[in-house]
């Protein structure tokens, strides 16, 4: 798994970043619809470090047309314990993702098309989709529908003795957003995914049963509701999100999947200053196991022989089991109006900068103690045994209209 360092992996993005940033450096007056944004994420759990830089640019064209592009790199150093690693073998694997978006707004209607391609050494993915939305009730409501299709090719390393596999996903979603008052907005949505193909992990092996054997069909449903409220006198905003998820083996039967999940998130927004806002949030996720899965990991309180000898499906992946996660997070957003009039820096005054930090608590092997003697220090220089059970998660971004 010898591979270039994260820095080397990001080098090819340099000229592309300059090219895509050129429109932002032009001297034209600012328009809210043309926008360039850069964003980076850093994820650090007991064994895994992930760095994800991304660049996005969108531009309006005459006739109501718009175009946009996104480029992302996903640089991962070392596989996580939850993905089958038994020691923290440090390497760097990179995933490159590019997407193009084209759309048109015509009166109350808006249509959009996207195509996306993702490449990493063992996983190639292509997606395309369409969305259509319409504003109703004197533009206080928006109803939107979307469809998409994805094809993934899973390409195991030559020495793994595992054959190539693929996965097809069909997606359909509908959402309705309604302004209920000058300070209250609500949204409801339903999304459906139909997956066909290999849904396991080519690197996971059960000690008794070998490579994962999983169902090849899965219908996934997600119902979500959101409400937002702003209190002008306190310059305080509140959001509440709820999602209910369940999946099936076929449209007429739950088996062998039958997973359910509830996810709830609360967010509090508060102006600290005319241009600075803080957001405090907490996300809770609970999920029940799939019907075919049993916990066979002794280190995680399971019994290694729980699948018996005749099980049709077997998996070592805790992602199909019961567990909960928690994500408290704090985010600061700075609308940089205060830079207006300053030499050089004044150019950035129309943009906004944000940074967030969260800690992801997991009661799964993803977050268990891990002897991490060879990992390079990335933040904090503590490359030894971990005693916590979660992950640090940092995001930062800057967005500028041009």
């Amino acid at each position: 798994m010898a591979a270039p360092s994260i820095r080397a992996a990001l080098v090819p993005l340099g000229p592309l970043c300059v090219l895509l940033a050129l429109p932002a450096l032009s001297a034209r007056p600012a328009r809210a619809e043309d926008r360039v944004g850069i964003r980076g994420a850093y994820f650090r759990e007991a064994s895994t470090r992930v760095v994800q830089p991304m660049l996005e640019v969108s531009k309006d064209l005459p006739g109501g047309y718009e175009i946009g592009a996104q480029v992302m790199v996903d640089a991962i150093s070392s596989a996580s314990i939850g993905q089958g690693a038994t020691v923290d073998e440090v390497f760097t694997e990179t995933r490159y993702e590019g997407a193009l978006v084209a759309g048109r707004t015509l009166g109350l209607w808006k249509s959009q098309f996207f195509g996306r391609m993702s490449r990493e050494p063992d996983y190639h993915s292509m997606s395309a989709g369409l969305s259509l939305s319409r504003e109703i009730w004197e533009r206080t409501g928006t109803i939107a529908v979307a469809v998409a299709a994805t094809h993934d090719d899973i390409k195991p390393p030559a020495l793994s003795m595992v054959s190539e596999k693929d996965l097809d996903v069909l997606f359909a979603g509908v959402s309705y957003t309604q302004v209920l008052s000058p300070t209250v907005v609500a949204q409801g949505s339903y999304e459906f995914f139909y997956q066909s193909g290999f849904m396991g992990n080519i690197y996971l092996r059960h000690p008794n049963h070998g490579p994962e054997r999983l169902p090849t069909q899965r219908a996934r449903h997600a119902l979500a509701g959101r409400v937002g409220k702003f209190i002008p006198d306190l310059t305080l905003g509140l959001q509440l999100h709820y999602r209910f998820y369940f999946d099936q083996g076929a449209l007429t039967a739950l088996e062998p999947w039958g997973m359910t999940a509830h996810t709830i998130e609360g967010r509090l927004f508060k102006d600290l200053h005319r241009d600075v806002e803080v957001r405090l949030s907490y996300r809770f996720h609970w999920q029940g196991r799939s019907l075919f899965w049993c916990n066979s990991q002794p280190a995680f309180g399971g019994q290694i022989d729980c699948f018996g000898t005749t099980a049709r499906y077997t998996s070592w992946d805790v992602k199909f089991g019961n567990y909960t996660t928690h994500l408290p997070e704090v985010k600061l957003t700075w609308d940089m109006h205060g830079l207006a009039g300053l030499p050089l820096l004044g150019f950035f005054a129309h943009g906004s900068f944000d940074v967030s930090y969260g800690y992801y608590f997991e009661n799964t092997p993803y977050g268990q103690e891990f002897t991490d003697e060879t990992a390079p220090p990335v933040i904090g220089a503590i490359p030894f045994t971990r005693s916590h059970g979660g992950a640090h998660y940092i995001q930062t971004g800057y967005s500028l209209p041009f």
Binding site: G37, R39, A41, T48, V50, Q52, E56, Q70, D74, I76, A79, Q83, R95, R116, Y123, S125, S127, G129, I136, W137, E138, T140, T150, D152, V179, L180, P182, V184, V185, Q187, S189, Y190, E191, H221, A222, A224, G228, K229, F230, Q239, R243, L254, M259, T260, T263, E277, R279, Q287, G288, R289, S290, K319, F320, N322, T325, S356, Y360, E362, Y366, Y393
Partner: protein, 83 residues
């Protein structure tokens, strides 16, 4: 702890409720809108917008690699990046 058959049979009821909700919304369209154009000043606040853009996409990518549930946030997956 998965969904049992009794809950599964409630799904048609859920779909009826969704259709009923749609009908109510359609009826509302004959009422005056809840917000006049000059009352929209606060609607640009971040607390009243649910489209998280790139930030939300990054988060969902992390969750989809760690959790068994997916969807509900308007993002279509693609690519693994799931180490």
């Amino acid at each position: 702890m998965g969904m049992n058959r009794r809950q599964f049979r409630l799904l048609p009821l859920l779909l009826v409720l969704v259709a009923l909700g749609g009908s109510v919304m359609a009826g509302c369209a004959h009422q005056p809108p809840p917000v006049k154009p000059w009352q929209r000043g606060h609607l640009v606040r971040r607390a009243l917008n649910f489209d998280g853009g790139l930030e939300s996409r990054f988060r969902q990518h992390m969750f989809s690699a760690r959790e068994g549930a997916e969807g509900g946030y308007g993002h279509v997956g693609g690519g693994c990046g799931c180490n």
